[in-house]
Amino acid sequence: MKRNIIKIYAIIPILFITLFSCDSYLQLEPQDSLIQQEFWKNKEQVSAALAGCYASMNQSGFTDKVLLWGELRGDMLVSLRAGNNQNNMLKNYMFPSNSFVDWSQFYKTINHCNLVLTFADQAQANDLSFTEQELRRIKAEAITIRSLVYSILVKNFKEVPLILTATANTDTDFYPAKSTEDEIIAQITTDLEAAVNDLNLGFAQSPAHDKGKMTKGAALAILADIYLWDEQYDNCIDVTTRLVNLNKYRLVDGADWFNDIFFEGNSDEGIFELQFSDINVTLRNSFYVGNPIYAPYNQIFQLYNQFPNDVRGNLATFGMSQNSVFKYAGVDASGLYRGQNQFYNTFIFYRYADILLMQAEAYILSTTNKDLIKAYNLINQVHERAIGAPLDPISTEGELLNALLLERQKELAFEGKRWYDLLRFAKRNNFENQYLMLDLATVKAGPDDYEQILSYYSEKESYYLPIYLNEVNLNPNLVQNPYYEN
């Protein structure tokens, strides 16, 4: 009996120890990283999250697609040693298993933005130094980034799932269906129109801050682009006018065209340029002169010969002797090239010349505000800056459109714009100008595959990309784009 009591006395302390000492073992929160409940407490954390939105664009998985989705299917680049996926895209031979159409990187950025938009409010409530105005500015930047990403997606896929809430817990709808092109564009335009008011005009710290962050100008530029894409010409004229009236941007002088805009970057002309603290891998891999993946399609050289004084020609846009994309790979007109570790380029999304030409296009095509003289003057601003002499007078709408498309091709070569320009021109009035697409087959074909390539370019629905197979497999509500269903 006595022994039993001793046993019991021994057991009780052991029980106590076991029950109470385990406290830290039962704690499930990770020790080595932040969790959501501890984040979103103050202004600094929200700013950091916003920086994360920018950083998510700042990698080759994102910029590769921004550049190459806009160029490969067009007529500016040829492949020297591109991979299979890119080679197929060069021929517009697209199918859902081509991983180069994977949009996940874009949705990552969208989710970063949605997180900021969802949780910034609670941080502001928690942090007295976080003003209402700052909150609105940060949210407007996130909205602008998200709108930029959706504008890229809608131009490439036409219909994509519109996700406006953060995926932060399991209540999220993991199987969103596609929204229509109109819904997406309406969302972008409403979002941006609202965001413009809250955005800063600029940032004083440095040109890199000023061009690298979303400002009023950037939001207006994205708006102008999407209005033009959606054929809302009066709205396009309106936002481009507002952008011009900001009086913040100007065309750089012709003599400085290459050096200011492309070699140094963040010029007076830049509106939104992605900044890289390290190498711009996309441009380095694609165009480094020692081992480029792509080269200019050699027929474009002649375009620039039309005016011998064009500052955008040899050793500016392209390098004739090396068959290079000089715009990004070059250093100066002596023919010097960037070394492999010197690709500190920015990645230009919008610049002022682009805006002027957008406005010109809207003036030509608007029914209520049609003004061919204004359009001519706008095209001529860009033209005369490069040539030093005015454009020959043009009066008819058709000729102006041709001159505009050509000016865009020369001014914005290799800036990820060409395919969208061609498609925008081709698809007007129910594909009135489909020949622009069909003509690409002649550029791409060899003696054996003309019919084949022509065939790839002949179907209107093939001008939009397929949804990557994995996405369709994972999401039962996601319907593959027409033409790619099999």
Binding site: F95, T442, A445, P447, D448, D449, L454, S455, E459, N486
Partner: protein, 554 residues
């Protein structure tokens, strides 16, 4: 004591029972699969609403189990509606079960074999022209993009379209098609005749006797004939003012109506329209001659970045060549293919040009895949190669070979071997030969040209020192030149950099007074292995470009 024994007994019995029962194989009667992916058959059977009729055909023809077997097949599978329509058209019956006669079942077997390729071909391998591999009936299927709209609108054999494509199965790929691919039965002239767009040319074929000649499917040795015919359509003739066969006769042979005579101009004209090669439009050589049925003549084929030019003159004026009207070309038949040319196609006399003769890839039997890689065959299997003494020999292709087209004629143990050359335009040439040499086991040969010995001994046993490699001047003085830089193996090792692939200069002055095929014979002085790659002829032209080891396409 008794109980102890009893216990031992009992124990042993229990032990034996345990052993016996325990030995039962738990896995008996279970079949294991190397993969849990569905086979072609399983895929088809799981979609009966689309494929049940074809599965029925497979069962009926006893080919059902074949599609369960290991392999990598491409199976074109017609949908139920397609099968129904085909049965109605061919046999006038509603369903597969109504087919009973042995003859009809035999035909269905051919149909199934014709829908099946022994290697996997996804849509990414589809081109304008023929697919690389033949079906189980030995025929090429063609794919065509002419309807536009990309992969979704591709036509197989210019007749049926794809419903679903690239359906993966464990043992191959399935493409579902909206019609049954009708096996080729007719030879080229009959197909042309039935199509009805070339009536004048078909009449000319008949009058000259070539209709029958081009209709022979198997030659006397039992191997398959191939013909590629270039023909003018009635429309093209009309552009030249030829509206009937009589007009054609008046153009070419107004005073001689003995059209079957090989000397007759119309006969020659027709013979010049065909070659015994199997050439879809994309198979025309980049820059070379194609021998025609008309002896001692050839088409000159040249491809630019964008165009195929046949018989381009060298006057420098534009538009002197003939090309194919692609929409009216690449029509397959049992023994070849026909194309429509875009203008009157007359006999062309080429100037001498650099000709490189790949003794393997340029043989029609190898082009049509009748003789496979490393398969030993007798010399009778080839029309244009002979050797002595009889014995089976092989060619061998390997991507490790720095050989032209990665293949060599890999022969040994002969006293002589001879090749019929391509047609050489008349002129004066240097003749060079390239084999993989430079080892003691190789042979030494004397070259004969049309029966006459020519040049010095071709000593394949020489090593780099013996050839003077790599000093170009020293090599030249000993009769050797570097191989080409542009001929490499798949990892990029060039002939130029290896002494074993040096070219031997047989002679620097070979006179060909008339345009025709010649015979090159190599007779063994010392027997040995001879992996021969190519023979080439470089025109000797005053002020012409010198032989350049960079590349043969100058």
């Amino acid at each position: 004591m008794r109980t102890k024994k009893f216990i031992t007994w009992l124990g042993s019995i229990v032990l034996i029972m345990v052993v016996c029962v325990g030995c039962k194989d738990e896995l008996e009667d279970t079949t294991f699969f190397t993969s849990d992916e569905m086979t072609i058959i399983q895929t088809l059977e799981s979609n009966p609403e689309t494929f049940s009729s074809y599965v029925e055909i497979l069962k009926k023809t006893d080919l059902y189990n074949a599609f369960k077997s290991y392999g990598n097949y491409t199976s074109f599978v017609p949908t139920n509606e397609a099968v129904k329509a085909y049965l109605m058209e061919k046999f006038n019956v509603e369903s597969v079960s109504q087919i009973t006669s042995a003859e009809d079942i035999e035909f269905l077997k051919i149909v199934v074999k014709f829908q099946t390729i022994p290697s996997g071909r996804g849509t990414s391998g589809f081109v304008e022209g023929r697919l690389t591999d033949t079906t189980f009936t030995g025929d090429y299927l063609t794919t065509s993009f002419l309807k536009g709209g990309g992969i979704a609108n591709v036509e197989i054999n210019r007749t049926v379209g794809l419903e679903m494509y690239d359906i993966k199965a464990a043992n191959g790929l399935i493409h579902s098609i909206n019609g049954v691919l009708d096996p080729y039965v007719d030879p080229v002239p009959v197909v042309m005749d039935k199509a009805g767009k070339h009536t004048i040319f078909v009449e000319a074929l008949k009058q000259t006797g070539y209709y029958e000649k081009f209709s022979v499917i198997f030659n006397e040795f039992g191997s398959k004939n191939n013909f590629t015919i270039l023909a003018e359509s009635d429309e093209i003739y009309a552009q030249e003012g030829i509206n009937s066969f009589d007009d054609l006769v008046n153009t070419f042979s107004p005073n001689d109506s003995d059209f079957t005579n090989p000397q007759n101009e119309l006969n020659r004209y027709v013979a010049y329209h065909a070659t015994q090669n199997f050439l879809y439009s994309r198979n025309f050589p980049e820059d070379n001659f194609v021998n025609t049925v008309l002896e001692r003549n050839a088409w000159k084929s040249f491809k630019t970045d964008t165009e195929l030019k046949i018989n381009e003159t060298e006057t420098g004026t534009d538009d002197t060549w003939t090309s194919l009207i692609i929409r009216e070309s690449n029509f397959p038949a049992k023994n070849g293919v026909y194309h429509t040319v875009n203008k009157l196609f007359t006999i062309f006399t080429p100037k001498p040009k650099h000709i490189i003769f790949d003794v393997v890839s340029d043989q029609p039997e190898i082009q049509s895949r009748l003789i496979g890689n490393r398969v030993n065959v007798p010399s009778t299997a080839y029309e244009f190669v002979r050797w002595f003494p009889e014995g089976n020999k092989r060619w061998s292709g390997s991507s490790n070979n720095s050989a032209l087209n990665y293949d060599v004629f890999d022969v040994s143990g002969f006293s002589w071997i001879e090749f019929d050359t391509p047609v050489l335009p008349k002129g004066k040439y240097e003749m060079l030969i390239c084999s993989n040499g430079g080892a003691g086991s190789r042979g030494i040969y004397q070259t004969y040209w049309d029966g006459e010995p020519v040049g010095a001994l071709y000593n394949l046993t020489l090593n780099s020192g013996g050839k003077g490699f790599p000093d170009e001047a020293l090599m030249e003085s000993r009769g050797w030149r570097h191989g080409y830089k542009c001929i490499t193996n798949k990892s990029g090792a060039a002939q130029y950099d290896s002494h074993s692939w040096s070219r031997f200069v047989v002679t620097k002055e070979l006179l060909c007074p008339e345009q025709k095929r010649h015979v090159v014979r190599l007779e063994a002085v010392k027997a040995g292995v001879m992996p021969i790659d190519y023979i080439e002829w470089i025109p000797v032209v005053e002020n012409g470009p010198a032989d350049d080891s960079n590349c043969y396409n100058d």
